[in-house]
Subunit: 241 residues, 4 copies
């Protein structure tokens, strides 16, 4: 079984004045868990900001193959030591799929080492998402492009290290472009960032978006799991021949 | 002095039925040479398809710091051994700036090793070119984005190896996106591909385009020049200590 | 089934004055096929220089998941159009595992675009091969390092594009180092270069070397297969919304 | 003028029981400053752990082109907010040259996002440092390889993101290999890691080591300086055409 853990801060959806409360009444994490759980080989847990201290522990992460991360207004409320745990387990081999405004989350910023900045605008732009690496596992089953009738606009420059592969590039009707789907290897783990998913649009109900996330979960699943990647061993000199 | 050689196949511009003949009556190479020659430290030569056999020789390339390449309908007419010479001198250290439809030119395809394919359309789209790496030398002096009122549309997927850096990303009013400015190191040489420059638009008269090309020429200038990078030497065993 | 095709020029082994004739009397290709065929999900074909024209065709490559390539003294005898076919099918999705002196083979050089040069020496050095990316699929089951009591020495500089990942680094008792296991994505295909395998040593009988090659075959197997990656389509303008 | 700031924790050298106290009585920072200051276009400041709070401020870093960092036993004593400042100024454009045991320093680990782990041994191994990218600016003036008669042994796996370029690879007489000189672009800044430099050997008095560090300082000097790279601006929708 592929063990997935979905983190969502779960704040916008509990605010009745926010459109998110109508679109995702049970939270973005529940919407994501719902379509992933349809897969026979995937089991999903969820954790939200109010349970983050007990829901993201070393023990739990050691039993997680891939973590998904959605956060926005409360990045700062995630304790540093939990962000460090997530980073370290990715380096040990756990996969990570970072969603939308998670670009400024602590785990992603720690893994990238860069600003992860971008430009943005909320103006109900249509987004067209182009597949720029059709042979990549995350692009399987996706068309040449697909559209989301409304999304928050994200634009370049995106302050990331050069991706290993740029799988998707987004086009916005308001005139912006964005490297919307990017991959990196970090330590023994794989990281995928995927841009769509603003809380005021039903993006996670879109079939193509769901396909991307499902593909990304399978792609990010660990090859192996190492438990001491932060150590610097001091081995003796080996005998040659 | 920075010694630049501009190759242009120079066919469209000699066809009176093509808009290029009115925009670039003396050829795209002449238009490019004109703005580069304004720089006190740059000297420019040009070569066209009809003189390619005498204008691109080992001797000439050894005395060239950066080559620019514009070709479109006659890629196949460039002899393989001349394409190989250009490739080899880039590996030895010469810089290369590949323009627009040069994506399918022999020297660029040899250097990339990939399909260099893309999708395209001629429909007078407006292009907006975003700077995605504002700290890169090629982006200096450029705004957050600039626009070209008409350009041939190029779209993803672009069949290239993952670039070292993606300096520009293009947005087209017809709905396409493209990694418009990309860099690679190959051997001792640097390669920059820049997408704008269709023959039926006055793209090379645009100040921002000229700035990009000038920056690229300076960026691609060699650090050093090696003359035997294709060899595999067989050195004796060195004495240790 | 994973369909593997092993190309070996098969010349050294037929020369009675060469040590290879005693080590690999049936050819390096046969030795490699022998250990790969033990896997239940792998089927192996072989082709040698004297049958290359009928043994490497578009039809055959379309039915090959991963090609292995061993060549040395007769790189030039492989026809250019066959090398181009191999390159094109890798870009379409076929995996490629390039062995030892295949660094100067036509398919590898076409895929890399660089000199692929190195320094070398035949002096019976011991080689110690370090795993530099223990989390990589190709490194699974391998120790921190393993040794080959004798190998041809290959040394830096190795004239390759910066690898996506450097999985192994070789140490030679004579004082050289080499990036011995490197990966690249090219188009829809994956490429792995692995340095050990000189014809005068029983390298392909070493269990660790066999493990690396088996892992590499599984890693390089295609995600999908595209049959027209060299085309540049001209799609109509799509209707937005 | 190129403004260089050398950070050295300066602890080993003040311990009379450590060989470093005899080799670098005025500190490693002073030894590095001494050879850099011979260059007419370079001006050098130094800062040590006991003055780090006043010696590394936003104001000072804004007036620094390249920072060098040597630390070992007291990485943890560098305040997090100072490490964050250094990281942020690199992202804004400042260059960084990380020396030897600085691989586990806070600024380097923050910039890489990975474990930065390695294996190590103190056994007076001879190190031979090979140039693997002879065309790189940092390799200019260096031979095919140079030797240090004694160095601390560092070995793979080195827990770093795949380097943009691997400029040097180290060979140790005890049997280890290491990617000894690596480059990365992070934000608008450039980062170079260089492995030699253990405090108990006179490594920074070696002419080749000095050449590498001088080249690295020139290479890492900023193209431009941006002061707000961490921001996410919210620009209005631009008018197209």
């Amino acid at each position: 079984m592929l063990r997935v853990l979905v983190y969502n801060e779960f704040l916008h959806e509990k605010d009745p004045s926010c459109r998110a409360s109508a679109i995702y009444p049970e939270g973005i994490h529940a919407a994501i868990a719902a379509f992933l759980e349809k897969e026979e080989d995937i089991t999903v847990s969820t954790v939200t900001l109010d349970t983050v201290e007990t829901g993201i522990t070393r023990e739990i992460l050691r039993n997680t193959d891939v973590i998904l991360w959605w956060g926005h207004m409360a990045h700062g409320a995630v304790p540093d030591d939990i962000a460090a745990l997530v980073q370290e387990e990715v380096l040990n081999g756990m996969g990570a799929v970072i969603l939308h405004s998670g670009h400024k989350s602590k785990p992603f910023m720690r893994l990238m080492g860069t600003s992860c900045s971008l430009i943005w605008r909320e103006s109900d732009d249509l987004e067209r998402i182009w597949t720029s690496a059709p042979g990549h596992p995350i692009a399987q089953g996706l068309p040449a492009y697909f559209e989301l009738p409304g999304e928050e606009t994200y634009g370049e420059p995106f302050g990331i290290p050069a991706p290993d592969e740029t799988v998707f590039v987004g086009w916005f009707s308001g005139g912006e472009v964005f490297r919307s789907g990017c991959t990196w290897v970090r330590g023994n783990g794989k990281v995928f960032y995927f841009q769509p998913g603003h809380e005021t649009y039903p993006t996670y109900k879109d079939e193509n978006v769901q396909r991307v996330i499902l593909n990304a979960v399978r792609w990010a699943a660990p090859t192996c799991r190492i438990t001491d990647c932060m150590d610097c061993p001091n081995p003796p000199k080996a005998q040659k021949d």
